[in-house]
């Protein structure tokens, strides 16, 4: 669903390094304070007097600052400049926790503004949501929650108290929604339909790849002729999967073929459409044994594998929904990622072609009378 962008990986290391540096910095300060350096003594007094909550808020802002600064090299223009400003601002606020009494309001504003700016960038398509960005927002949301709790508003009137109670949950919900909208409105080239990630391949098929793809289609068609009748498939060891109201297709799987790799004689699953006239064989599904293990693609971009990620699977009724960007699922369901799969449609699959991740919508509607999902 959300991966780690190639140029974002070092940011995670930078955050860990900065925290380690922070510990060394503290030891150095204690050394300097022991030698009566006035500013070191003042800083340490503030540090020692701060509660664990304030210290954690400072540490989280420091982490966010480090992540932003580490991301600068991969971001040009205004985004890069804002990352520098944001990173330095967070580091200044983290230090301000121990030397000022007025840091909370600026910190709350800075954290909120950073989260809102991220959502604007993601929804506008100027930044793709990835796990580093989402983890950073999570850290900032925790920091904001801590800063809000540190504010003493015990005697505030009820509208203000209600605002304080609802502000953080509301911001978390909006952040989730914003990241979701950004990801759906601006999917990257490797995301097909929601929840499916495509195998990276070259953009143009060579003549050899075209020939290999045609051979795979012909071999699969030839192999599947014996399974037109679902009873023959069952006799050969294929077992029908659970029937879902949401899916007009029915997969018959054969565990005995689990280790075969793109073998037309032994496909992992047969796909039947539930038509008004009964089950109609429409294709085969090849599947690799393990998550993240892309299969051979003899047809290059024509035979592109895909794996489903970010799916909440409920064994109660065998149903699926989508995970939130923060990787949470409804109670009673769990996050799953399927091993890569390649469909070969033996019927005319319209404009989508014989190796599309899904049955063409028009074909599906024509066969089953339904267009979802």
């Amino acid at each position: 669903m959300y991966d780690i962008a190639a140029d974002h990986g070092p940011a995670l290391s930078a955050a860990i390094v900065l925290l380690a540096f922070g510990l060394v910095f503290l030891r150095l300060l204690r050394f300097l304070a022991g030698r009566q350096a006035g500013w070191a003594v003042r800083f340490l007094e503030g540090f020692d007097a701060a509660s664990p909550m304030a210290k954690l808020a400072a540490a989280l802002m420091l982490v966010s600052g480090a992540i932003h600064l580490a991301l600068v090299p991969g971001h040009d223009g205004i985004t890069g400049i804002l990352f520098i400003v944001d990173g330095l601002g967070f580091i200044a606020l983290a230090l301000g926790v121990f030397v000022t009494t007025w840091w909370r309001r600026p910190a709350a504003i800075w954290l909120s503004a950073t989260i809102v700016a991220y959502l604007v960038w993601v929804i506008a398509g100027w930044e793709a949501p990835d796990q580093v960005g989402i983890a950073c927002k999570l850290i900032e949301l925790v920091a904001l929650g801590l800063v809000m709790r540190l504010k003493n508003a015990t005697h505030a009137a009820w509208p203000r108290r209600l605002g304080r109670v609802t502000a953080l949950p509301l911001l978390i919900s909006l952040t989730t929604l914003g990241i979701w909208i950004g990801g759906l409105v601006h999917p990257d080239a490797l995301h097909a339909h929601a929840g499916a990630v495509l195998q990276p391949v070259a953009s143009v098929a060579t003549p050899e790849e075209r020939a290999a793809a045609a051979r795979l289609l012909a071999d699969t068609k030839a192999s599947l002729t014996r399974y037109q009748d679902p009873a023959a498939a069952v006799a050969a060891g294929y077992k029908p999967g659970p029937v879902s109201d949401a899916d007009p297709l029915l997969h018959f799987q054969n565990q005995a073929n689990a280790r075969a790799v793109l073998d037309p004689i032994r496909p992992q699953a047969l796909v039947y459409a539930r038509t008004p006239a009964g089950l109609k064989l429409v294709g085969a599904m090849y599947q690799m044994p393990r998550v993240g293990q892309w299969g051979p693609d003899p047809g290059g971009p024509l035979t592109q594998w895909h794996q489903h990620e970010g799916i909440c699977f409920s064994p109660l009724g065998f149903e699926f929904s989508f995970e939130t960007p923060f990787w949470t699922c409804p109670v009673g369901s769990g996050s799953i990622t399927t091993p890569p799969m390649l469909h070969v449609w033996i019927i005319d699959n319209g404009t989508s072609g014989p190796f599309a991740a899904e049955l063409d919508k028009a074909v599906r509607r024509e066969l089953t009378g339904r267009s979802s999902p």
Partner: protein, 133 residues
Amino acid sequence: MNQATPTESRLEIAGVLVVLQASLSLTAGLSAIPFGIVEPGFRVLSVVTIVVAVMMFWLARNLRRGRRWAWGGLVTLEVLSLTITVLLTLLPIGTIRGPVPVLVNLVIPWAVLVLLALGSRRSAGPRLGPADL
């Protein structure tokens, strides 16, 4: 700088993390509602998830009020959550992939448990300031 004692502060941190977890659960429950249109099981799961989220908000509030039962309820929930996550992680279904699921499903529940344990050990009972959640 602020008035909370270290013990109170730990429980306050736990409370903030539980509110975060509750908010994430709430969004998970709300986001499953559209799937309930075609998948009847998710109608039930989304409602259950929203109820659990509301319960977590309530437990966080009462933790700050110093209620022992809220402390116990949260420990139970977090242990359950961590156990399920660890069991799912052992299966080859790619449950934990990347920093976000690690933070949300492992680090935060573990941190809440540690904070609750520390908050309990250092005081006779969580006695916090006024409940101003």
